[in-house]
Point group: C2
Chain length 295, copies 2
DNA sequence: AATAAAACTAGACTAACAGTATAAAGAAAT
DNA sequence: ATTTCTTTATACTGTTAGTCTAGTTTTATT
């Protein structure tokens, strides 16, 4: 990411945390970032867009952290899932984001609304798939029902906990509470009744086709090419990844491992952002491949 | 309620529905209500306060409607509860309030936040008590857990339904879905494990003591006295209520019936608002008495 | 090194807005 | 009849988002 843009985002984030979103004026951001107004509007067309950029970064951070947590562990390990769920709350806490998110939840800005809906559905997909991995493929048709119920419990519990016991960190306990309830639900009525929610519903409302595997691959290669320059020591990684993706059956295990190393390698460098992006693309690819092979 | 105040609230509500909360300026409200700026600030110190007044009215409307639905029915009738839950969604729909509520959910205004928290906790209390009535007093210690889970499911489902199938009215189906899940949860694990949430937690965070029965009675009498003027035909009702409340053991069944008739009687008159308020106070009183007698 | 293109700065400017203040007209109460 | 409260109309202050322009600095290209 561009240095100025990063500078703006950092400043904005500091201020949003400190003063809240709506009490932070654009002028405040200009002062904090020590840039001119024109520069700001060169990168963002509004405060909302700046906010979206921040939220996107955080979202990538969450995905990244979840990958690390899962690495090397069994996919049906419930405690891994619990830890992965906790990531969102911890990162929110770290960035004091709760307030930010809710600021934005009720915005009347169409773009922002669409952006949040999209993030929400991505989370929903992820939860549904993880539940399937943990409780078995037989819950398949009900996995979205369960995902919605689970997210409902977690969010509601978080809301209440935050207001009743803001001092103590109850994140773990709260997630465990929600997990107990959802697993109790799943165990007693798996396969019973019809699903109320279906995967297809979400594609429709997101207005996106699930991208094909080939499209995903191409996006990864493209992004890699953008950063693939001789002077970087990670050059071999990039070459390998691109090569591997061309294969008939890319060895996903290898790729997963490479991305993990790579994302540590570039931590703090200029490429961090792009690698994070490419890595989250790759993760989706890997997920999809695994699912395909299960069927 | 004062005529000018009502005029302002009506205008504001129309505009909030039409244009959204944050896109409605105070000037817009002045134009719509055909009043001067000074008048507005005479009644509300900000747009937020005006909004709170609107939300409060709606909240009373919901309580009122729920009372009507329950009247004469068994307290453990699940379908009554389903209908009562639907009230909130239908009224929200009627006033196009979904947007309004979420607009406000993330506000950084302290007062507004406190106001919403309070409304939320009142809803939570109500749900917890209704669940106890429906599924038996033995779920007692867990009733807040269940209430939170239930509200979580309902809200999440509503959020998703609104985005996936905004055209069809799925309110009933969605509530039934949530009810099925919560009753399945309750039946399979009632009495098992410790409660995660407790009634006391909410008193603490609301910074309110649960008002004593006497305080409730007093509030009712006071409000009644404010409207108890000779020229109103409902004079006998008021006198009777006040008298009945003085008794050692007020006959709650009588009072409930009187309030029901009374609230119909004053519909559309100048006293409607006050009666609604007094009626919701009385309802809490009646609830409390019934609970006391069960123990 | 010269030049062209871009990114950036500083600040002026407009328009919308919240909220305060005031003076005068009108209504209600005593 | 007089006082008190409410309402109006309008002016004023101060803040904000966003546009625009003219000039400067940085970066890439030849």
């Amino acid at each position: 990411m561009n240095q100025k843009k990063k500078q703006i985002i950092d400043a904005a984030q500091r201020l949003f945390i400190k003063k809240g979103f709506s009490s932070t004026s654009i002028q405040d951001i200009l002062d904090e970032a020590e840039i001119a107004k024109g520069t700001f509007y060169n990168y963002f067309s509004s405060k909302n867009e700046c906010l979206m950029a921040i939220l996107e970064l955080i979202s990538e951070e969450i995905i990244q952290e979840r990958i690390h947590l899962a690495y090397g562990k069994e996919r049906d390990d419930e405690s891994v899932f619990a830890a992965q769920m906790a990531v969102r709350f911890n990162i929110d806490k770290k960035h004091n984001l709760m307030a930010l998110f809710s600021t934005v939840r009720g915005s009347e800005d169409k773009d922002l609304q669409a952006f949040l809906d999209k993030q929400y559905v991505m989370e929903l997909h992820w939860v549904a798939n993880r539940l399937k991995e943990i409780y078995g493929q037989e819950i398949d048709s009900l996995s979205y029902d369960y995902a919605i119920i689970f997210l409902g419990i977690v969010q509601q519990a978080a809301y209440v906990v935050k207001r009743t016991k803001p001092s103590i960190d109850q994140t773990e306990a709260m997630i465990q509470f929600s997990l107990n309830r959802i697993s109790s639900l799943i165990e007693t009525q798996s396969g019973v009744g019809n699903a109320f929610f279906h995967e297809e519903d979400f594609y429709k409302f997101l207005n996106v086709e699930e991208p094909s595997l080939d499209v995903l691959k191409q996006q990864i290669v493209e992004t890699l090419n953008e950063i693939n320059e001789a002077r970087f020591p990670e050059k071999e990684y990039y070459a390998f990844i691109i090569e591997e993706l061309q294969r008939e059956k890319p060895r996903m295990v290898l790729l997963e491992s490479i991305f993990l190393t790579l994302s540590k390698e570039v931590e703090g460098t200029i490429n961090e952002g792009k690698i994070r992006k490419v890595s989250s693309l790759a993760w989706r690819l890997i997920e999809r491949e695994k699912r395909k092979r299960l069927k």
